[in-house]
Amino acid sequence: MDRRAVVVTGVGVVNSVVVGASPALGAWLAQPRAAARVAVGHGRPAARLPEATLAGLVDPAEGRRLSRVCQLTIAAARLAVAESGVDPARGLGLVVGTELGDFTSTIAFADGFLARGAAGLSALLFPNTVMNTMAATTAIAVAARELALTLNVPTVPGELAVARAAAAVASGRVDAVLAGGVDELDPLVAEMLDALGDDAVRGEGATFLVLEAEAAARARGAALLGRLEGAAWRALPARPWGVGRRAESRAIDEARRRAGGRAPGFVYTSASGDAERDGWEARVLAAALGDIPPSASLAALLGQHGGLGALRVAAAAWTARSGLLPGDAGGQPARVSGPGLVHGLARGGGHVALMVSAA
């Protein structure tokens, strides 16, 4: 079956440290600053987006009805579409990955009822209690009328969304897809994750990429920011929310096979500070790659959130172009070359691998 080449033509990033398209991301990658952390509820400090940042990105009249997590999604999606110059009227799909969805609205909706009974129910809030609200509102905001999917998985929602979108473009089902992930911080959720033993430093934000068929992108003169050489997703055995023991998986092999069998010169991992899970990912990478090439995760700098997966794909394209891999703890970047592997492994077993090169 003929598979088309897939390229990245736009990037939109919104988090507490980086707001903008690929130049803003590139500037940060060249000199990564860590996000400031503030207390969120009873949980550990986390990287929260200042309110003024978000207010500057969304028009108040439009933002009136949009929940915060929807605003994050729309802001990042618009940045990506603007950079890419793609025309949504010619067909644009949307894939949104999220770990936590709109918990905030769900809690607020329940609180309204608990406080005031049926009269306390908010018709405005109710649509936000269904996790597709970010995709529904973003589809309206950017006029995306082809498929619009929301994918829910811990840790790797952004990676999965990009992999799924790449498959849709590669198979010829759609010519352009906006793909990425989003999560917001909520105090109760932070408490919940702590209680479940997730030690990751949390953050919030959204990152979206525009993926297109390479031939179509070239034909319209778009700037190619990177190429998705191969993408695959599988599952490793694990209890729900659990960390598994098996290290052998086919996702990395399959992604490499689709990328012509090349070995990655660097890896962006999904290490997040959740020690058990991080250890499992390291074993999986070692089983697949032998010696693990220079790696970075960026989660310690930005805080773990659903926007990281797509951000890492954009970062991998930047690294492939620049030859520089930023250090997670600051310090000098490593010099690397060749295509990169963007790798994600979730508690519960979700597993994603993407091979990324400079276009």
Partner: protein
């Protein structure tokens, strides 16, 4: 692209556990919408729903939704006769919305009363729709590609479409796909707040329809390549010959008034299957019985198929709107309509809305042998999907 066929069915429905009672209920035109027992509906205008009478067993530590999903998934896998080796490579695509919300609500309601029940964090986390895939994947040892789609009321149908793509594109040879939703206070209260519920059992396409009824359940199907099914001699129910997925991009709750997104989804399914409109003998409609959906959907069907044919019916008249499970349950009903040559009725339809230009099979199931049938699922936020099934070659 490879041809995709259905080789296993599983369902847990308001008629009980299993595909047999499900089809018996649908074929008999039995309305399963009754007074609520699972949640307290005091103070609401609508107090009825289609509840699953008893769950499919399973550990009481699991959420109700997990138990429904497991029951349906296990039946489908056994029905298809999949081996452990098959399962190790099989893809899993789940459509979900509410997740373990019912149990999490109970915890949250208790918290509001000042109690601190143990296991609160796990209960809260089980709200996430992705948790079913973890449970199913672990319990059923499914090791292939796994993802959870949340597209509101069309989630179950999207799951089948996604799995069909994985099989057609050669990513996997076998996939398990379906949808699940259990009753929740949030869903019930929310639709009440939006004034979208009928205090009586819903009446799709009826001139006097007043809104939806809510239901719960789960349905899963096994999909594999036609070649593989033939090689191992398994019974094929039907071919999943094509699908179309579109987005209205219009409003978070209201459907786009011209039904353009709905029509595009139906046309895309026909095109993907290489089938003409004339070959479709039955439309299993989304048919929620809201004044808006049924009017817009029937106009969209008319634009694609012309007026007067095919037969159209909505089984939401019997099992209510089962949310994320609807696409899966309605796919199973559509498949069985093909194999049994019997169209399930719009059981509660009394007076057809004069604006609806179709025979909506009122009251009683209709014998009819059709070549192709489609199932429509149009979710909140304009998330439209149409699945096209073709009768199995004899």
């Amino acid at each position: 692209m490879r041809r995709v066929v259905v080789t296993g069915l599983g369902a847990v429905t308001p008629y009980g556990a299993g595909v047999k009672p499900y089809w018996a209920g649908l074929a008999g035109g039995t309305c399963a919408i009754r007074p609520l027992t699972l949640i307290d509906a005091g103070g609401f205008r609508c107090r009825i729903a289609a509840e699953v009478p008893e769950t499919a067993g399973g550990s009481p530590r699991r959420s109700r939704a997990d138990r429904l999903a497991l029951g349906a998934a296990l039946e489908a896998l056994e029905d298809a006769g999949l081996t452990a080796a098959d399962r190790a490579d099989a893809a899993l695509v789940t459509g979900a919305v509410g997740g373990g919300m019912l149990e999490a609500e109970a915890w949250y309601w208790a918290r509001a009363r000042g109690e601190r029940p143990p296991g609160w964090a796990a209960a809260l986390r089980a709200i996430l729709p992705g948790s079913h895939a973890e449970t199913l994947g672990h319990r059923l040892s499914l090791g292939g590609p796994r993802h959870t789609v949340v597209t509101a009321c069309s989630s179950g149908a999207v799951a089948l479409a996604e799995a069909a793509d994985l099989v057609a594109d050669g990513v996997v040879d076998v996939a398990l796909a379906g949808g699940v939703d259990a009753m929740t206070r949030m869903c019930f209260m929310g639709f009440n707040a939006l004034k979208l519920l009928d205090p009586e059992p819903c009446r799709p396409f009826d001139r006097d329809r007043r809104g939806m009824s809510i239901g719960e359940g789960a349905a899963f199907v096994v999909l594999e390549t036609a070649e593989r099914a033939r090689a191992r001699g398994v019974r094929v129910y039907a071919e999943l010959a094509g699908h179309g997925m579109t987005t209205d991009a219009f409003h978070v709750t209201a459907p786009e008034p011209e039904g353009d997104g709905m029509a595009r989804a139906m046309r895309a399914a026909l095109a993907a299957a290489g089938v003409s409109a004339a070959a479709v003998g039955y439309v299993n409609a989304h048919g929620t019985a809201t004044p808006q959906n049924d009017r817009i959907e029937s106009r969209a069907i008319a634009r694609v198929f012309g007026e007067g044919r095919p037969l159209v019916s909505s089984i939401k008249s019997m099992i209510g709107h089962t949310m994320a499970a609807a696409g899966g349950l309605e796919a199973v009903a559509t498949i069985l309509a093909l194999t049994e040559e019997l169209i399930p009725p719009t059981a509660t339809l009394v007076t057809l809305d004069p604006e609806v230009a179709f025979d909506c099979v009122p009251g009683v199931a209709r014998e009819a042998a059709v070549e192709c049938a489609i199932s429509n699922s149009f979710g909140f936020g304009g998330q439209n999907v149409t699945l096209l099934f073709r009768r199995a070659a004899s």
